[in-house]
Amino acid sequence: MKAIVSVVGKDRKGIIAEVCSLLAENGVNILDISQTVMQDFFTMIMLIDTEGCELPFAELGDRLTAKGEDMALKIRIQREDIFNAMHRV
């Protein structure tokens, strides 16, 4: 299943490394990354594939949310379908 991981919050060192490690540890493949920092505000959007992920989708979501709380960031995972439905005809 393809999903979008979004990471939003104050910039600091190692955000990408930590989020990517968490995903890799759980067998998630990253297909695309786009990231910017505007006035100390960090935004990263990742397209991932959960095909090889051993965890149920909800559990992966919980771990990402917890990681976000540790790093004072908002991290969420949503199935790609919702964005396709809303923004593509």
Binding site: I4, S6, D32, R76, N84, A85, M86
Partner: protein, 452 residues
Amino acid sequence: MINRSDILSTIDMIDNQHLDIRTVTMGISLADCADPDIHRCAEKIYDKITKKAENLVKTGCEIEREFGIPIVNKRISVTPVSLVAAACESEDYTPLAKALDRAAKTCGVNFIGGFSALVQKGFTESDRRLIASIPAALAETDFLCASVNVASTRAGIHMDAVRLMGDIIKQTAELTKDSGGMGCAKLVVFANAVEDNPFMAGAFHGVGEPECVINVGVSGPGVVCHALQSCKGKPFDVVAETVKKTAFKITRMGQLVAQEASKRLNVPFGIVDLSLAPTPAVGDSVARILEEMGLEVCGTHGTTAALALLNDAVKKGGVMASNHVGGLSGAFIPVSEDEGMIAAAKSGALHLDKLEAMTCVCSVGLDMIAIPGDTPASTIAAIIADEAAIGVTNNKTTAVRVIPAPGKQLGDEIEFGGLLGSAPVMPVHPFSSEAFIARGGRIPAPLNSLKN
């Protein structure tokens, strides 16, 4: 990958503009639950609902989690109980009401609709018994909603039913006076009721519906209001276009959730209801959209035109985004459930007469309006008759959900809490409609009912 700004805009809609799926409603036919013994009938109803809707809430929560979109309510609608109970050899239908309430609690839904009767042309014995049971049924349950259809474009207005409902609303308020007349918030009187409405309190599972069905109601007044902030001062063509585009996006999301729920529950998808349903939360108000168009306060001159544009544009945008559109589909204007409406009513800008005019151009009727507790039953019946006339003549659904708040006067306020919000008591005309309502009979169907 999808454009990053599109992704961020969706996330912003969910986080800051109250975008959500307002309800996933499972319609369940109870036609096979009829039984001469009312307790046996109640048992069959409970068993059927709890079996069919066993996974409704769980599935709703899973979808919510995977798509990251809140599904605020999971609900159930059932076949009008007056049809199911017709075989019962019992005068009082309260045991059925309690069975429905118990089933709702077991399934974990927050409302169950269908304690209903369709009497636009006349009463069956069962219709009479059901309507007489409404006050006690609503007083003795928590999650049950009742509705009565008293008029249709094809049948005209059944004025005996209109008169009766004036009395029933008063009795319901009296029996639930400890909670400010809360029972009346769960009772709707309809003209041209629709069979696939997913929204409460008026949802029921119509006779033309399948065994079981999933209907979805979308929302998003906050998203529309936010979108309009970017076209300040621009002509109405731009306003209409902006609303259409926004409604399209919202509805596509509703369609996706509806299909997903239908697939996972193995229940056919019915319709998406394209309604803008407000909540009492700041930033989730239909009134504020009208004000964003340039009105100082909702209720002033221009409000009806603004609402007409909004209602039409929502439908035009939404209809392309879903393969089956139905239910009420349009803008809702419940006073107590809309932060901007509450403010407008309190400021004295919004009156019952203006609300009545607004119901001519939107999808519902006089909704969640508190009126003085000493309002005569005949005045309430006359309010219902006026709304029914608007619905019948204009070929649209209208409804009345008023709360004659016991012991409350003008200037008082009643608090329902949660999604039902709070309502300032609004004035009604002090002049009598008694002799008008006493006539009874039927107002014939209008000429425009003869379409064949």
